[in-house]
Amino acid sequence: MVKVGVLALQGAVREHIRSVEQCGAEGIAIKKVEQLKEVDGLILPGGESTAMRRLIDKYGFMEALKEFAAEGKPMFGTCAGLILLAKNLVGHEPHIGVMDITVERNSFGRQVDSFEADLAIKDVAESFPAVFIRAPHIVEAGAEVEILSKHNDRIVAAREGQFLGCSFHPELTDQHDITAYFVEMVKEAKAKQFA
């Protein structure tokens, strides 16, 4: 069974772990840097990206997260997690900066504009209940980035090799297709590592 970590500094950690378990993998809440060595893939959950960044810096996670990416291990960012993964942010310095996308924060407006919508996500689901909360979106994607879903012409889900990111919160729904897709990415990466 593959082990999938969920960065547990702040945000919707429990929901992601439950979703990972539903997909037949082991879910581990990552609170300490050394725990990253135990896992084959990592989910960066929804939450407040600025608050997460403070804690990432405080506990020396930044280098370890970049190393994790450099080792080719899969990473999946949802909402705030997508912001953490992006190489470029509109109006801000990037955080981990590993996925070749430009992301704009809070780009759908404030909380009163938060919404849910059914999305078709390529290779994942024909209809997925996507919950957008003060959500970011992908303004621009690099040549190697595969666009998986759009909402009103805005890119809201994408994959670049080992990296998967979405604007919405799959962890707030009971439909686990996108987590299952990520768990498959983790299995493939692990199989390759031992091939």
Partner: protein, 293 residues
Amino acid sequence: MKTGTDRVKRGMAEMQKGGVIMDVINAEQAKIAEEAGAVAVMALERVPSDIRAAGGVARMADPRIIEEVLNAVSIPVMAKARIGHIVEARVLEAMGVDYIDESEVLTPADEEYHLYKSDFTVPFVCGCRDLGEAARRIGEGASMLRTKGEPGTGNIVEAVRHMRKVNGQVRKVVGMNEDELMTEAKLLGAPFELLLEIKRLGRLPVVNFAAGGVATPADAALMMQLGADGVFVGSGIFKSENPALFAKAIVEATTHYQDYKLIAELSKNLGTPMKGIEISSLSPENRMQERGW
């Protein structure tokens, strides 16, 4: 595409989990809070301890202050409306506030009815002292709960009482048989369907934060250990000697609430916390937690 659904409103609070929400009265304080790693700020005219000291009627903050805070930070901004004050709540919603606290810290506008929060697109947080109160607020449409504690006292005892009470009652409901729940609903004054849902989920259907008396990093960690999903700090930060340091320490203690060596480290040299008030020295009419029904 749907806005203002339960999932969107409750989900917003889920994203705040494990975090600290700080009371601020201007842009400068809001920036200090954001810099310290707060997951949201509560924009107020006065922090609870000053409301207590000032006396008189406490109302929604001047919209200018709220606007100033909305423009100063990129994290969510909450604001307080008086219990039952439909128009204050609508005004805050129209201003684009991200969450409204229907709060006993302000003087109630209605001594019988709370807001029908399901009618709003903006989500609400409400205070509770027990499961009956929690369930009534959820029934009215609250998307997030917090303990009432005793605001502006810097004394954690009431928040502890309320968190233990709610969680103990949730455990009891989860352990009961379905045929016992109607009588329990009657005894608690709670909607029956909500008790069924709590039993099915094994927990409350919305997050429950600690509030009302958190003054130190150890207080915040204590509340997390008792099962709080996160922490509101009112007067505790900006009434302490060194707010920036205090704010950071409380954020870290909330994240790592079981790392006692760390809490010891970050509690060093913080300066003086806010001066506290012994609850028994407050006459019943001065206890904010008694407001709300």
